[in-house]
Symmetry: D2
């Protein structure tokens, strides 16, 4: 059994890691930390886990935690992660960091979009962006995985085949994304109260949401040129789920069945990407609770635009599930181990 | 008191007309028809109206109904409307038709998108498109109002100021819209069952939703040139509300405050369009139950795109409320009469 | 025009007062206070009211506010109300208090259930419990109205006819209530975050929710004997609405149609109580946004129990609407003035 | 691998069986039938299962299906089940029937409550009521399991310890239950449309819901005397989940901690019943997607009543999960095999 620990397990992402790891056949959880809840049992804070897991939240020393762990998941806010990760690596653990701190390769981009100084810049080049479908080869041997953001995962999976095949005009990419509320975390805020969200829908964070440079970095890397996108996040009245509707102008003569064939080939080895058949479009309720990303396409000959829609569960493929997928690769396990549960519908 | 009747009052749009007209100080309802529910009291089918209204659904002869009505609202499906409306007009009533049958000016466009023959083509030129903020002058004297679709209302109000001021590249317009479930009506379908919609979100009707030519007709008329758009409707897990997120490339040098000023001036006389202050974006829960359309803007200098967001209640400003606004104009009443109730929040 | 002010208008109840009063034809709002939001425009905090109302939140001196108001609504937390109300009365205003501070007639009951000292006990006898359907005569001439709690309103209206007609065994009353989330207010708490409430349902506050003695006081007063009840509140995943399911053993021989007749007669003059016909049961979505309370009955001859179900909108008939109904009575206006809007469905 | 088949897999219960069985390590699905969808792939009807399962719905002959199956789940409506099950048993398969047809031991009770003739009465005595926590011993050797209803499972688990320990007055039992919409199935009906349910809440089926005699049969069997209850089902705006709030008068002197101890001992061997610690009450969102039933207690010394609250997922412990639990017992497997997935929260 491989030993894993979670630092910062008291938010929705952290507890989703616990849910997934509870069913993983080849890992043992050796530590679960939460400064806020230290000393309490996991089930006191998350009663749904009663009798599934029996852990006490600790406020452990990172170095000591690293010594009893092969892989540590850090599910703490950005800025906190960059303080913590170097010590964990030094102590010999490998790290899957779910914050934004190691996702952007360039320090100046981080500092511009996050309006904060980066204090662990030496790790920015070493960190591997943990999107297995695109960067699988680099992940297995990494010490530090920067687990992608939820929106960027959906956008990158939606657009990668088109960019690598040079099918679209890179200046015309628009990503209109809609996310469930759990993406905003469990911290109390008026905006995420039930009465504010239910029967509501709005865009937010315009025009400079922090996932923009992360998406651009991945797309640019795939296209091998600098890409700027329009990215508009919206808040959906659902707990889990992201749908990204991506638009671009086609620059070659290809029909819908050709595009679908391109996607099926591109993702032929990727168990978690489900390219939908022609005429079917993704719905976030078809991936809930699972690590799948559903992709559907439409092509409008009137305008010459392709529309790619990608749906995933922001807490699973958009966070904790992808982190476990990365962990599997780090540990040399089958990539899908512990992650193949079907979605929960309805 | 002016006399009004509703034909086809058993769907969500029809009953919303009843709700609004129940509070209108200068009209009297003289007939409410429903083939399906004929002989039953309105409150038997819609218990929320018990003691608010006391009507029996009729299956009245159109000609006879027209004789006791100054204005008739037809809230029947497309194809049914084109059968009915000529007789109502002949009998001397004025008509606000909430179906799609008289919205498109060109018969061939209707027949292409609705895949049906149009049997009342002589009325297509006469019908006035009932979007008061854009075509107020033509409405007052019309015999037949084609009440706009819900999506087209949001898109047209969002983009009109930009098009009339020639601020955007007309080839770059993308309208990403999200609608609540009541837009799909009260007819039973698996797709609109609670369990299929709740905690779900998807696009549908791609790439040829029937509101596309209606939007294009209005935008083209404003721009005085032929415009083709990409239009993507999505199904939101809310009962009421549409948010349209509209993208276009700016072609002139203007900043956000200039754009907002343009919108405020354009809609200065329009009580139902609320241009939001800089930094605030519309939410469908801020217009629920009301006839308001909230408009917010964002501008991204990185990409040169403007993003206009418009929110309305699809059953009010997107259907029944706008129909009453048109009726007020037809009858020479104050445009906002009976329609100034604030939204219901939360 | 009568002059009214609202103290503490920044919660859901306060802003619902604003929504309702905005449409009231015979009152003028002369002040809106909020310590938290003082200096901000109402629409900055509640954008849904943009262009409906134009007020700046004040942090006014109570005495000064009272001088410019005929009636003041106090929508502040309990304990704060008892500090404030004496000064408002002294300054000559009449007060409708929406807190719990003046609802319980006996100081010792208040202190037991609220675990706090009552500092305005001299007003407990003077305050009139503002449930117009039961205590209309005392309201008109009162200086201080204790506006009832949302649960107690539903329970009292559900059971009053049975108790006054001595139809039930008073020892067998069980009230199983379910409330929407807005009842918990707009203060941030983990429990009322969207992700905690959506797709959830639970009881809370057992076995000693503070509305218990308030319900018992009203029922005891109607029955002219001391009644103890079981009261179980639950949290519903809806924004607005309470349904109370009330059980009691019948002690007389009466059938369902006899019971319904009793209810119809009891509430014959009460425009806001809608007794549903046999076979129809209340749904909270049939009263949303309105001041109606819908009541339905069932009788089970197998067990000898009657079940009375009462539905209302907790923010309207359960709070702000009832407060305006009380205000109308205080001011000698028609009881339903400004309150007859139909529910918003769907 | 044991061979299992599902007859009638096109409703929510049938497809939930597929979801659960997809992850079961020791069974192989040998047939999936649906008259409605025969010839279509499971993923065409339920896209969430794409790549999880690859089956074509058949319209198989029952006898032939039985020959390739050790256990058959029948997830067809009542009346259809009694036509089908005898042939399956004759052909040598064992059957877990999810309909109501074999739950009531007495033919006359069935015929009274279901208003239909029972045509397989010879099986009523043989069928074993499949509530493992209460009747585990009889299940292993049965040929025919009558899988309990969702409400009856919650009520029986809530009240069994009290009844067996003779702690309550059997004449005072009231069960106030609330169920999610999936309990109403996937058949189209106006009542279960999103717009009718969302932001709504109502009781239904009063006073004679068909689960009443099923609950009474189980409780009477536990108490060894005839029990009549009041049972009130309500429709919750959630997809999954039942909460039953059960009331009874205590007849012995026991405190809350004594009661909780009684429950912990009663369910000490039952992995799927989670007795919550004092002060914690069950929420349906804490069991979603899992086979757990959470039980919490409250005791009100003022009234002498105990309140027991039981929450479960109506599609899992209330239907498909319990069916698999029964199957495990029939096949001699560990009772929890394939069923220990934690709930999905949020």
């Amino acid at each position: 059994m491989h030993k894993v620990a979670i630092v910062g397990a008291s938010g929705y992402t952290g507890v989703e890691l616990l849910r997934i790891l509870a069913g993983h056949p080849e890992v043992e959880i050796t530590g679960v930390t939460s400064r806020q809840h230290a000393g309490k049992n996991v089930a006191d804070i998350f009663p749904f886990l009663q009798s599934c897991l029996n852990f006490t939240f600790e406020d452990a020393d990172p170095r000591e935690l690293a010594q009893r762990s092969d892989v540590i998941f850090t599910a703490v806010p950005h800025l906190a992660a960059m303080q913590l990760v170097p010590a964990l690596l030094d102590a010999g653990s490998r790290v899957v960091d779910l914050s934004a701190d190691f996702r952007l390769r360039k320090c100046e981009v981080y500092e511009e979009w996050y309006q904060s100084e980066h204090t662990a810049t030496e790790l920015l080049q070493e960190a591997v962006y943990g999107l297995p479908e695109l960067f699988r080869d680099q992940i297995a041997s990494a010490r530090l995985i920067a687990n992608p953001g939820c929106y960027p995962t959906s956008a990158a999976l939606a657009l990668a085949p088109l960019l690598e095949a040079s099918q679209i005009d890179q200046q015309t990419i628009i990503i209109d994304s809609k996310s469930g509320v759990s993406g905003a975390g469990r911290t109390v805020r008026v905006d995420t109260l039930y009465c504010e969200v239910s029967e509501g829908f709005k865009a937010y964070g315009l025009p400079r949401h922090r996932h923009t440079p992360e998406i651009e970095q991945t797309l640019s890397s795939l296209a091998e040129s600098t890409i700027k996108i329009s990215f508009t996040p919206h808040l959906l009245p659902v707990s889990r789920g992201i749908l990204s509707t991506c638009y671009a102008k086609l620059i070659r003569d290809i029909d819908l069945s050709g595009l679908l064939q391109l996607y099926r080939e591109y993702y032929a080895e990727d168990v978690f990407v489900r390219v939908l058949p022609e005429g079917r479009l993704p719905d976030v309720n078809q991936v809930r609770g699972s690590n799948y990303c559903n992709i559907g396409l439409s092509l409008d000959p009137r305008t010459g635009r392709v529309i790619v829609l990608a749906a995933l569960d922001n807490l699973v493929k958009g966070a904790a599930g992808q982190a476990v997928q990365n962990m599997n690769l780090l540990l040399g396990l089958n990539e899908g181990m512990g992650l193949l549960m079907p979605p929960v519908f309805p």
